[in-house]
């Protein structure tokens, strides 16, 4: 199965999700996504994966660390 124009879209997708494309590239990606179910599904999948990785991998600072850091501030002050 060949995805001719989809290959170009796949190429742009990560930068598109990162908001790091030029205006021209954004237009190119969006006009392709508008007309292509295959890529639109994958775009949504990538977007939710990105968000899921982010929320999943986040671990709050342990209790007590803030106090240790605060103590460092007056160490040589």
């Amino acid at each position: 199965m060949s995805h001719g124009p989809c290959d170009a879209c796949e190429e742009l997708l990560q930068g598109y999700l990162d908001r790091e494309l030029t205006d021209g590239e954004v237009l190119q990606a969006e006009s392709h996504l508008d007309g292509c179910d295959y890529c639109r599904r994958r775009y949504r999948f990538e977007a939710s994966l990105r968000q899921y990785v982010q929320t999943t991998a986040v671990e709050r600072m342990p209790v007590g660390l803030m106090e240790k850091l605060t103590q460092l501030r007056s160490a040589d002050g």
Partner: protein, 194 residues
């Protein structure tokens, strides 16, 4: 004139003390965000705590080298990634030459292949991946890839900030990010379809 100097000095010292306090408060307000990134750069909670403490120790000592108005979080992370490198993390060369065959759609395609294209329309399809598997897959990335993926995907830094923090060209950030994410998806795909 000689009599004015002590007063000027006094004012200068007071102004500097205020700047310093402000710097410390701003830095401390970012501690949770700094820790989140640190935690994913190293293997254990204890290492992350040590690394963050060392970072703040150094930051508080060299606060004068921070330029007010610039990105303080990036400045702190730059100290942190340097310390992390210095702490004798095992020298591991990035397998830059090793091709990564699978494309960006690899994980999505695997899931679609095994469960049908429509599975991708389900809102919570990614939650088929366990939280553990994501943390493990991130930890398993080669260091250079992991640093970049963690800074951009967990720390939400721009490519330019990540380049500055890691002291590498922006093109290198992009290629490491690209390859790191692909590797991550390959690992996740093994679980998703098993």
């Amino acid at each position: 004139m000689g009599e004015e100097e002590p007063e000027l000095d006094g004012r200068r010292i007071a102004a500097e003390a205020r700047d310093r306090v402000r710097f410390e408060e701003e830095a401390l307000a970012l501690a949770d965000q700094v820790y989140r990134v640190a935690r994913r750069l190293v293997g254990t909670r204890e290492e992350a705590e040590d690394l963050v403490q060392d970072t703040y120790g150094r930051a508080f000592r060299s606060w004068r080298s921070y330029t007010p108005g610039t990105n303080l979080r990036a400045w702190l992370l730059r100290i942190l990634t340097n310390l992390n490198l210095d702490r004798g993390r095992k020298v591991q060369r990035t397998p830059d030459m090793q091709p990564i065959e699978e494309g960006d759609y690899y994980l999505a395609n695997k899931m679609a292949d095994s469960q049908g294209e429509q599975v991708l329309d389900q809102e919570r399809v990614v939650e088929k991946l366990s939280q553990d598997s994501i943390v493990t897959a991130l930890a398993a990335l080669p260091h250079d890839f992991r640093d970049t993926v963690v800074l951009v995907d967990i720390g939400e830094f721009s490519y330019a900030d990540a380049a500055e923090i890691l002291d590498i060209p922006i093109g290198t950030v992009m290629s490491r990010l690209h390859r790191g994410r692909r590797l991550l998806k390959q690992t996740l795909a093994e679980e998703a379809i098993s």
